[in-house]
Symmetry: C2
Subunit: 325 residues, 2 copies
């Protein structure tokens, strides 16, 4: 009732020193068996819980791992978080999830909070931003960048996806089907992933001697709404017979516009998505898409979190094209 149960309150209750309580609770052999058991019993009864704050302050570190994601409704991020959360439970780690909504200021705040609680490591999808990391403040925390990479003076670890090959394959696949007017929607130049995916798309066309049409390329800060709006615009504009998406959010947004149009007018287009939510296999006879190995990505990230060495490592996984319909 009156405040927290602490080793001191238990000690007073039992008329012994708080040190004996501490030892008894940590199964220290230097305590009479009778004493130890009495203490443990009483602690249980009183509902004692060890203070993580006190432990952290003593310099024992914390069991906290931070995860910064743009959002978590996108199935890719959801699956990633799910796998990470499970691994964390298995490792006795606590996962703090912050959603940045791809806003740099939100990211800054979230990072600061995680440093305040002395997170042992932070896995993050960097938001679009020109600045680099404040090396000063992240000195004590292991940072693992996911998918996107931001510059930083002190090298940070990263788990990234090599998707250029898959995107080029997607273009080749569409061309093989006879498409010449291929549109693209993706992130803009502010993101490393935006740059590389667009480049892969353009390379794919160039490799086959096809001229890219700037009107059919939409790039901007990525979001569901951006994907949806861009696709709607492209459909209104006409001309394109195929569409390639270069991002998770964008893909879902564009797909929603496509599905709406399909049920309105019945008009089809060759659609290549990005990421592979379960339902992609089920809609419109199956959506062709660039598949990213989420679970493995998450496992690699946790590996890096629990890794002993301090030196930064970069792990690269390969995306692959799944052709459907």
């Amino acid at each position: 009732m009156s405040g927290r149960v602490t080793i001191k309150s238990i000690a007073k209750d039992l008329g012994i020193s708080h040190m004996t309580v501490s030892r008894a609770l940590s199964d220290n052999p230097n305590v009479l068996k009778a004493t130890r058991e009495a203490v443990q019993k009483r602690a249980q009864e009183l509902g004692y819980v060890k203070s993580a704050a006190a432990m952290a302050m003593r310099g024992d570190g914390t069991q906290i791992v931070g995860l910064l994601l743009p959002n978590i409704v996108n199935e890719f991020y959801a699956r990633f978080a799910n796998t990470m959360a499970q691994s964390c439970v298995a490792q006795g780690l606590q996962l703090i999830i912050h959603l940045t909504n791809d806003d740099y200021n939100v990211e800054r705040l979230a990072l600061e909070r995680l440093l305040e609680v002395q997170a042992a490591a932070v896995v993050m999808v960097p938001t679009p931003a020109q600045e680099s990391f404040d090396d000063q403040s992240i000195a004590n925390t292991r940072i693992i960048q996911l998918i996107r990479q931001r510059a930083s003076a002190t090298p940070t670890s990263a788990v990234i996806v090599e998707d250029s090959a898959a995107i080029e394959q997607a273009v080749a696949h569409l061309v093989r089907l006879g498409h010449k007017k291929i549109a693209y929607i993706g992130a803009d130049q502010a993101l490393s992933s935006g740059r590389s995916r667009l480049a892969a798309f353009q390379n794919g066309l160039a490799n086959l001697g096809i001229e890219a049409n700037a009107n059919l390329i939409r790039s901007a800060p990525p979001s569901f709404e951006m994907g949806r709006k861009s696709a709607t615009d492209l459909f209104a504009l006409g001309g394109a017979t195929a569409l390639v998406c270069g991002g998770f959010e964008v893909s879902n947004g564009a797909l929603s516009a496509y599905m709406d149009r399909l049920s309105d007018s019945g008009e089809r287009i060759a659609f290549v998505g990005y990421g592979d939510p379960a339902f992609y296999a089920w809609v419109d006879g199956g959506i062709t898409t660039v598949q990213i190995p989420v679970e493995e990505l998450a496992r690699r990230a946790v590996d890096m979190v629990t890794r002993k060495t301090d030196d930064a490592q970069t792990f690269t996984l390969r995306a692959n094209l799944v052709v459907r319909s």
Copy 2:
């Protein structure tokens, strides 16, 4: 380089007392402007971050809110977590997410960890379990039960969904379409939600004078796999012309079995899902489903977290049937 930057280390660096540093950093007016600015500048340079542990230990509490969910790949839980995470950012709270996988022991551990870090509140979907809460230990933490309700001596707050009416409507809808053999898949009696949804299904039939067929009812601890397997079994068994799902996981699992069967054999069935992931509108001409107002649910939960009063409250939201196809 050498350890954390603390107010003491800054004080030493500046040749002043640590209290002056403390005051300067908290914008206390009782500090010479010049001193204050010098301190703030130096703190910035050194990469000072306040220790959350020290603050917690002083009794200032924490900004931590715990969220316990069975998983987070299910779109319902994902949307819930997403909304809660956004609200938490807005309120300056940190959200720790633990996934229980509906395992009581995992839940116990997760709850203990959250108490250790002195979470201000915990929003949780209780796992199936016969025991009640350990009232002793949750005395200092606000517990908000979500969707399901577990008994406890000290009353806890809850945000739940009244879905009986929607489920009865679903049955009535199917009967109106001419269905007599209606199957049901849902959680078993261990869960409050399992009990009430099954009862609603049976009431729905009884209201229309239709006899429930025990062979067409599957109830067990709910999961994607359970839903998938039950649906597969029911299809193999034959007889049912319609299927009602009584749970998020179960619904997705059953739907995946249904979609597989549809593409294999083209055989249809009247399907009523539970929850409303975006893609339900897109597959098989649109899935009829029991829709739960997720975002509002999450907002209510955060309301309860930030509420001043200590007395337990129960908030009930109504589900509604969305008819499609």
